[in-house]
Amino acid sequence: MTQIEPQNQLTLDLSRKHKIEGSQATARQTAELLRSVISQQRVPYTNQAGALIDAVKAIGEQLIAANPVELAVGNIVRRVLHIIREEDLSLTTAAIGGLNLSAVSDDENDDDRDGDSTLSAAAVAAAARSTLRPPSLQTLLEDTPVSAAVPQTSSSGGDSEGKSKSADKSSRSRKLKHDVIEAVNELIQDIVTCHEQIAEQAVEHIHQNEVILTLGSSRTVLEFLFAAKEKKRSFRVFVAEGAPRYQGHLLAKELVARGLQTTLITDSAVFAMISRVNMVIVGAHAVMANGGVIAPVGMNLVALAAQKHAVPFVVLAGSHKLCPLYPHNPEVLLNELRSPSELLDFGEFSDCMDFGSGSGSPLLHVVNPAFDYVPPKLVSLFITDAGGHNPSYMYRLIADYYSADDLVVQRRATAGN
């Protein structure tokens, strides 16, 4: 029962939306919750990976449903699922290698049994190799077995070798959980240190006497600029204030505290000032599979201005922000409408926005979207903790971090298999 409580707490926090701010904090809490779920999950002897995957999917479904706009949650759930599959696969191939050796040593006289075990082992290895790869032209003509078949073949391979393997299996099940938890720890570590890893690359991109433009406030951008300042680059920063939350004001204050020459401008002045800027560096809320960016509102404006004046538009994003989904209607589906109070003062405008009077529908509506979608053709470079990449290259990172089976996080309907 203890695993229910932290999950409920996190779900509540996510749905309240103001409790946890920022994708990094969300990602970290999600990863920690999933780690505790995995460590508390009892796994059967066979199909351990399947049981873990089901448990993670069950929790993941709820977490994602609590706040679909916070894509980092779904990203981390899918990363953990991918980790489970990978660790299981590497254990399987290691076990097969072990099986081969023990078969050869134990049954020297029994030649055809040897042959059998090597053939089935090779076939299993080939099957295992093909399951983890996403469908590709190479596997088009082959029988692509369902991913759950991988743990099953490994267990059937174990059975055919007799009781000497049962001791191995229990140690393997412990090993799987142990490996997965280690990998999840690494993931948490990556999430926590993503700012430093991105900031390390600052010196390559910011040169002497440059003028940088940014919008709103992003901790990644802050660390990035600080790192360049540490390396004795002298540059100036234009900060667009980022209405209606005006977080650019906070960023400007922090930059000045660190000794950087800063100029604060309104969002509407971006087009006027862009011709004096060498580079635009911004953070992102999420990066989609086609290279499009979900960023705080106003970013599309800056991106268009940058394109018009041939200014490089650089987006900084930790790898937990990388989402394997393609946006088919991002302005609507991946956006959040915030309270009108950020724009208007209720006291002055209460009669315009009165839902109780007359026809019940006021003449004044206030739309306050939280995010903007920047299409991939406007982005020049993505700087992630894995290095700097083209928008058209993002699919490769996604293939590395996620499995194709996990795009839709849903628990399988039937209990069997």
Partner: protein, 349 residues
């Protein structure tokens, strides 16, 4: 003038049949029988009346079967009829058959791609640990037969992937008759989505008329346009959906004449262009301009006699570069055009 066999078949399946086209096809059919007969004579193998080209033509006649599937079935028949005793011998026979198929119709990209894919699969299979030749051979035949199912499943997968991109109230512009795009629209209609389709006529095949017919049967609101009216109606369009005869290494597509034009107009008006293509259509071609591909000619009937000194552009297909395409829906998933070369590299190198 020579007519591209591939486009002849497509017109046979999807075009509107006019009387003088019928006359042309009769003449072409008799020509094909003669060449088929020659193949049998030149065949090589002693006393065998088997011709891979005939086999291919038989399969290709079925309207619902993709070109690549017909090609692979024909190659499976080669394996079945072969008297080879080792994998090397079988591979050599297959290579010869595949080459003769490819040279018989140089204009069909999915034929070439299907043959190459199957040859690659054979090479890889023979490299695996099948000690027994017969079991390897039967496995090859079995997979080749299954390929038809794979192709059919591929269309279903593509239809499922594209569903999210069709939202209620959208207007879709479609060009040419693609069975894959038809599947996408059919599934959207079955899922009770509200959308309407603008359908170009698609001269000279006029396959758009056939598509409009099929869509009307599904109770989807359809509007027919002549090809020149595309720019006129582009502002009310939300997205463009096309199929592909082939997907080339750069991520661009080769499709029925008119696709490039529509993609250019859509791009200039910021409308997304989505391509629905199965993955076996990926081909190792890299055209640099429109004339870089082998010509595929299709005679055009203008309805009035044209004086002989007037030249007519009879090419049946064009090349759309990748920068005008937004996304490709394939059975390998939703891809951006830059992923195509990655997939091809993984397969061939």
């Amino acid at each position: 003038m020579s007519m591209s066999a591939y486009y002849q078949t497509r017109a046979a399946h999807h075009g509107v049949v006019t009387s003088d086209w019928l006359a042309q096809s009769q003449e072409a059919a008799t020509r094909a029988v003669v060449t088929g007969g020659q193949e049998i004579v030149d065949g090589g193998k002693s006393g065998r009346a088997f011709s891979v080209i005939d086999e291919f033509n038989n399969w290709r006649k079925q309207p619902d079967l993709a070109e690549a599937v017909a090609a692979i079935r024909a190659l499976a028949a080669v394996i079945r009829n072969s008297e080879a005793k080792t994998m090397m011998e079988l591979e050599i026979e297959l290579k010869k058959a595949s080459d003769s198929l490819k040279s018989w119709d140089t204009t069909s990209i999915s034929l070439t791609a299907g043959c190459d894919l199957f040859m690659r699969y054979v090479t890889r299979t023979s490299a695996l640990e099948y000690e027994d030749f017969n079991s390897a051979r039967s496995r090859l035949i079995e997979r080749a037969e299954k390929f038809g199912e794979i192709s059919y499943k591929a269309r279903k997968i593509i239809a499922m992937l594209s569903q999210d991109f069709i939202f209620d109230g959208c207007t879709i512009l479609v060009h040419g008759f693609s069975r894959v795009v038809m599947e996408v629209l059919k599934m959207a209609a079955q899922n009770k989505k509200l959308f309407r389709v603008l359908c170009t006529e698609g001269r000279p095949d006029r396959s758009g008329l056939r598509l409009a017919n099929e869509l009307a049967k599904l109770d989807v609101p359809v509007k027919l346009l002549i090809d020149s009216a595309v720019a006129y109606t582009m502002d009310e369009v939300d997205m463009v959906f096309v199929g592909a005869d082939g997907v080339v290494e750069s991520g661009g597509i080769i499709n029925m004449m008119g696709t490039y034009q529509i993609a250019l107009v859509a791009h200039s008006m910021n409308k997304p262009v989505y391509v629905a293509a199965e993955s076996y259509k990926f081909a190792r071609l890299y055209p640099l301009d429109q004339k870089d591909m082998g010509p595929a000619l299709r005679p055009i009937d203008f309805g009035v006699p044209i004086p002989s000194k007037v030249e007519v552009e009879t090419s049946a297909r064009d090349y759309t570069p990748p920068q005008y395409l937004t996304l490709l829906f394939t059975d390998l998933g939703v891809l951006t055009p830059s992923v195509v070369s990655d997939e091809l590299i993984q397969l061939y190198l």
